[in-house]
Each structure stands twice: as structure tokens, then as C-alpha cells.
């Protein structure tokens, strides 16, 4: 779709970036030491930290990916919302307080608190980097997706802008500025999602009787884009992609519902009929690729049930392996949150365990509220008549556009800030892993405070640049889906080590290292050999994939635990086990 840039969006966005950068330079003075740079001196008030949790966690994947998935396929996107939130239960009840008690700056600190081993530092540092980079890809893709309608710039420009702004934020004031950016973003995102939801409920549904014709989008070998055979563009003889998504039938033959209550909204949709769009890709002999989008009137009862999305269709299959794929994803989401390094380091920014606990509760409140709203925003987008069939990631901003130009400007700018907040957390986690864990485990003398901060700043620039490149390479993938992978790797590599260290007294140094290495490599290998990666990344037929289903969690998380137990038992005689924590 061609988008004309919105001037108000540009103004609001520049204002946001200006405020965050100004804040960052102002706060830079407070982050000279390593305690300041990595952990904001542990001085962040718990309420601010709780909202910053929401800002850290609610990524572009939550906002753009989940809304897009619900808008295009119905209920299934909400399964991600549920899984993402459930993970916080593990974070609060199992991980929060010990993390604060045992660690100082990084995830590796907590694991290494009793052993003081270079091996643990190295393994945990590498896994932090791997998970963070994996998680960075969808965030950067989200940035590119947003910049097209916002500024009228190409995908790569969006990735580059976000990359540059984030690197500046992280390099100037580390955790101090990152926290405040995340606090700002978390508050804005939750408040304006609520406003948008109220507007959706106020608008209700109205029936549009359109002639339903399939839409074809052809990318010719020469690189031109044709819509239904006509050139894409605004000029004469050219055409634009028609916006889609509407209710085709309401219960009782109504043509308009008027304002609806939150429950009424769902029960009305259940009895209505909505037009969804299926896509089919064909490749012609001359190398041109045509995607045909076919409208399909679908009963609301099917829209609101699980198993409509191609990735979730497995739950209606008779094959057990297809069902396992779903179980595996839901397990990874549950276990993943408490293993994400950029979330874990936020426990070091508050003063004690009680503050860690309270801020997690605030975080759960904000995040849970937001995830309930994703259902309304997704369904609101589905019926807004403003969707772009070719791009599910644009659902939330386009929904806002259907409400008015100012709402579009605000929501797009917030979505952009959303990317900034999460990406700065991820880059900071990676920089901490490099400076505090990896370099430290290789150098013979301990690094000075000043050296650590300097290395962390250099690492931020390097990781940020890598993220920019990956964000440009992977621009076609749905951002919500990619995040599922990051969760799988995090849960497989980090959770077994963390949980067993806390609850099993016979855990040994070697056991921890083995669990991280095995969990990380097995889950990465599984993803690289899966059907989804075959079809979406390599462009190979999905049926050639070497693993039976795409989501690794259900195999690789238990594998991490088993590895840890076996290796610990084998090495136990060295008497290096955790005696007391």
C-alpha cells in the first residue's frame, strides 16, 4: 500500500524523540560509574520501575504483531497475549526476589553468585547476547513497518532511525535514561490503548455491503508492483490497494449497532459475520510473484475461536505432532518471560527485594490491562474498513487512522516510542553481557569501573549496528511470530539454570554451564531446521524440514533440566554444589 506521510505524526514523533534524547543527555551525568550505567544505582522508585517493566516488555510485537494477528485471523493472536502475561507469574513468584538478592548487574551475576566461575559467566553472557539479538530482530522490523506510513520513508530508513536514536539513548546514560524512556513509553502505550479501545466501543459495528472481489498483488520480475494488473500509484491509470475489513452481517439484520459495552461488543461479534481475507501465492514462469487475496465472509463464532490462524490450525488436526507444536509454544511463552535478560536486569534498578516484588505487581497490572485491550484493538481493526491486506503489522496504526488523523499520529508515534523503549532495554542487556560477563571472563585482571562502562558503550554501538542490519534483512516476517522464537531460546537456555540453582542444592558449576549451552544450541538448531524457517527464511518447501514441528520449547526446555541434573550428579563429588543460598 502507498501511504501519504502525515505531518502531525511527524511532529509528534519528533517531539517524542526530542524529549527522550534531551532526557538522556540530561541524565547522562548520573551514569558515570558502572553501578549507575548498568543499574541506575538501584535508585529507581518501585512504581516507576513497575511501569518501566511494561515499557520494557510490551514490545512492537505485542502492539503491532498481536493486534495484526487478531485483525487478520481472529482469536489466535490473543493466545500470545495470554501466554505473554502468564509468564509474569513465573517472574513474580519464582524469580523476582532471588534475582535481586543474588545479582548485581547482569543475569550471569545471579547464576554465578555462589561459584565465581568464568565458565558460567561466559555461557550466561553468550546466551544473553543470543536471546537479545533474536528479540531485537522483530523490534527493528516493527520500526521499519511503522516508518512507511509515518514519514513516507522506505523500510530501511525506519530501522536506521530507530537504531541511531536507541544507540544514542543507551550510550549517553545507560540504565538511567533507558528506565525513564521505558516509563514514558509504558504509560503512554497503556493510556492511549485504553482511549483507542473506548473509541472502538463507542463506534460499535456497522455493516457495509461491498462487492467482494479478490485483490491480486503482483511483483513483476522488473520490480514493479501491480494491483489487479494496474500500476501501483496515485497517478492516472494507476491504482491503490483498497482498504478492507468490515462486518458483512449483524445479528437481527441491523445495519448499525451504535455504542457497545465491552461485553456486548464481544457477544455481538459472536453472532455477526465478518469478511476475512485469505492469501495465496503463485509464481509465474517469468519470475513474477502474484499474491491473490480472496475475501471470505466468516461467522463471528469462528473468528472468536482458537485455531483459525495457519500456525494454530494444528489444534484441530488429528496429528499429535501438530498439537504438540501448540503446546510447545504455550510452554515457551510461560517459561520465557522470566528468562529474558532485558527483563531480569530491571530487578537490579530498585533498592531491595520488597521493591522488586512491588514493581513486578505494578508491571503485571499494566501489562495485563494492556493485553485485554489488544483483543478489542485487534477486533476493532478487523472491522474498521481500513486494513491493508498485504501487511498485518500495520493493523493498529491503520485502525487509529480510521478514527481520525490525530489519533493516527499519536498511535504511530507511540508505536515508534514502543520500539525505542524495548530496543534500548535489549541493547543495554547485551552491552552488560559483553562488558560485565564476556570481557571480564577473558581478561586476567579485573576491569576497572571506568573500563567496564567504556566497553559497554562500545558494545552498545556494535550490537545496535547488528540489529539494524538484521532488521533490514528480515523485513517480511510477522513480528509477533518472531518473538515466539526468542522466548523459546530464552526459556530453554536460561530457565533450567536459574530455577535449579534456586531449588536444588546439588546443582554444580558444570551442570549450570552444560544446561545453558545445551538449551541454547538445541533450541537454536531446532528453529533453524523447522518448517517455518524453511518456508519463510530459506524459501525451501516446508515439508523438507528436519524436525517434526516448529516450536522447540516442549523438547528443549526439559532437555535443559535433564542436562543440568545429569551433569550435576556426575560432577557432584567435587563438592562444589550450592550449599546455601
Amino acid at each position: 500500500m502507498i501511504y501519504s506521510p502525515s505531518h502531525s505524526a511527524v511532529i509528534i514523533f519528533c517531539l517524542f524523540v526530542g524529549v527522550t534524547l534531551g532526557l538522556s543527555f540530561y541524565l547522562g551525568k548520573r551514569a558515570k560509574s558502572s553501578a549507575g550505567y548498568f543499574a541506575a544505582h538501584g535508585q529507581i522508585p518501585w512504581f516507576v520501575n513497575g511501569v518501566a517493566f511494561a515499557g520494557d516488555y510490551l514490545s512492537a510485537a505485542s502492539f503491532l504483531g498481536i493486534c495484526g494477528m487478531i485483525a487478520f485471523h481472529g482469536y489466535d493472536g490473543f493466545l500470545y497475549s495470554i501466554g505473554f502475561l502468564a509468564g509474569w507469574i513465573v517472574a513474580l513468584f519464582v524469580v523476582a526476589e532471588p534475582m535481586k538478592r543474588l545479582g548485581k548487574f547482569t543475569f550471569a551475576d545471579a547464576l554465578n553468585s555462589t561459584f565465581d566461575s568464568r565458565g558460567i559467566k561466559l555461557a550466561a553472557g553468550v546466551s544473553t547476547l543470543a536471546v537479545s539479538v533474536f528479540y531485537l530482530i522483530p523490534q527493528m522490523v516493527g520500526a521499519g513497518v511503522l516508518v512507511q506510513p509515518l514519514l513516507g520513508l522506505p523500510h530501511w530508513a525506519g530501522v536506521l532511525i530507530v537504531g541511531a536514536v536507541v544507540i544514542t539513548i543507551v550510550v549517553t546514560a545507560g540504565m538511567v535514561s533507558t528506565t525513564w524512556v521505558q516509563f514514558l513509553k509504558g504509560s503512554l502505550l497503556v493510556i492511549f490503548s485504553a482511549v483507542l479501545t473506548m473509541m472502538i466501543l463507542h463506534r460499535g459495528f456497522d455493516v457495509q455491503q461491498e462487492v467482494l472481489n479478490p485483490v491480486t498483488v503482483t511483483k513483476t520480475a522488473a520490480g514493479e508492483t501491480l494491483i489487479n494488473g494496474l500500476q501501483l500509484g496515485n497517478g492516472p491509470g494507476e491504482t491503490l490497494l483498497p482498504p478492507v475489513g468490515h462486518v458483512s452481517k449483524l445479528p437481527g439484520g441491523l445495519s448499525k449497532t451504535g455504542p457497545l459495552g465491552p461485553l456486548e461488543f464481544l457477544s455481538t461479534l459472536e453472532k455477526s459475520e465478518v469478511v476475512l481475507w485469505n492469501s495465496k501465492k503463485t509464481i509465474a514462469e517469468d519470475g513474477s510473484v502474484t499474491i491473490t487475496y480472496t475475501p471470505k465472509p466468516t461467522p463471528g463464532s469462528e473468528v472468536l475461536r482458537p485455531g483459525q490462524h495457519p500456525k494454530f490450525r494444528g489444534i484441530r488436526s488429528d496429528q499429535f505432532a501438530d498439537k504438540l507444536n501448540f503446546l510447545s509454544l504455550m510452554l515457551a511463552l510461560f517459561c520465557g518471560t522470566a528468562s529474558l535478560p532485558h527483563i531480569l536486569i530491571r530487578y537490579y534498578t530498585v533498592k531491595d527485594e520488597a521493591a522488586a516484588r512491588k514493581s513486578t505487581i505494578v508491571g503485571i497490572g499494566c501489562i495485563g490491562f494492556f493485553y485485554v485491550l489488544t483483543l478489542y484493538m485487534g477486533l476493532g481493526a478487523m472491522t474498521s474498513g481500513a486494513m491493508d491486506v498485504t501487511n498485518s503489522n500495520m493493523a493498529a496504526p491503520l485502525l487509529a487512522r480510521s478514527m481520525g488523523e490525530w489519533m493516527f499520529a499519536i498511535i504511530s508515534a507511540i508505536a515508534f516510542t514502543t520500539v525505542l523503549g524495548t530496543v534500548s532495554g535489549l541493547i543495554l542487556a547485551s552491552a552488560g553481557a559483553v562488558a560485565h560477563d564476556l570481557v571480564d571472563s577473558f581478561s586476567s585482571t579485573p576491569l576497572t569501573d571506568h573500563q567496564q562502562v567504556r566497553i559497554a558503550k562500545i558494545a552498545s554501538v556494535v550490537v545496535g549496528s547488528i540489529a539494524i542490519v538484521l532488521g533490514i534483512l528480515f523485513q517480511k516476517l510477522n513480528v509477533g511470530y518472531l518473538v515466539g522464537w526468542a522466548f523459546s531460546v530464552a526459556a530453554s537456555a536460561n530457565l533450567p539454570a536459574l530455577v535449579m540453582l534456586l531449588f536444588w542444592k546439588r546443582t554444580t558449576r558444570q551442570g549450570l554451564i552444560a544446561a545453558i549451552v545445551v538449551g541454547m544450541t538445541s533450541s537454536l538448531a531446532w528453529i533453524l531446521l523447522s518448517a517455518d524457517t524453511y518456508s519463510q527464511v530459506y524459501g525451501l518447501p516446508a515439508k523438507d524440514a528436519l524436525v517434526p514441528f516448529s516450536q522447540p520449547g516442549i523438547v528443549t526446555i526439559p532437555l535443559g533440566f535433564i542436562t543440568l541434573i545429569v551433569v550435576s550428579l556426575l560432577t557432584n563429588r567435587n563438592r562444589e554444589s550450592v550449599s546455601e543460598i
Binding site: 497475549s81 495470554i82 507469574i89 513474580l92 519464582v94 510461560f334 527485594e353 512491588k358 483483543l375
Partner: protein
């Protein structure tokens, strides 16, 4: 180590695990159940889903109240 907090945390964790596990298993092995509309014309999938989110917050609050602040000094 604050054992009382850990114990409360584990009990609440297991409680939530049961609820979440029930949701996931129901989706996997009986997707038809999720389509039923037992209450206010809203299907089980949505009621159970939103319930999981609300209960997570309620349990978090319960945990917050049960862990008395004085114990953090131990």
C-alpha cells in the same frame, strides 16, 4: 533466604499453573469446548482467556499482601 515468601510464591505459582495448564490442554485437545457460549453470549475461549489475565493480577496482589514488609529485613 526468605523461606516464607518462597513458600507462598510456590503455592500461588502451582495454583496458576493448574489454571493455565487447563486452558492450554482444553485448547489443544478439545477446541470445540472453547466455542461454547455458556455466559452472556461470549465463548469459553474469551471468558477463560480474560480470566487468566485477571487472575494473574489478583494472585499478584494476594502475594503482595501476604509477604509482610518486615520479613524483608531478615
Amino acid at each position: 533466604m526468605n523461606t516464607r515468601n518462597t513458600r507462598i510464591g510456590l503455592v500461588l505459582f502451582l495454583l496458576y499453573l493448574l489454571l493455565y495448564g487447563g486452558f492450554v490442554l482444553l485448547n489443544t485437545f478439545s477446541p470445540g469446548t472453547m466455542e461454547a457460549t455458556p455466559w452472556a453470549g461470549i465463548n469459553v475461549a474469551i471468558v477463560y482467556g480474560i480470566l487468566l489475565i485477571v487472575v494473574a493480577f489478583v494472585l499478584a496482589l494476594v502475594y503482595g499482601f501476604l509477604c509482610s514488609p518486615s520479613e524483608d529485613d531478615e
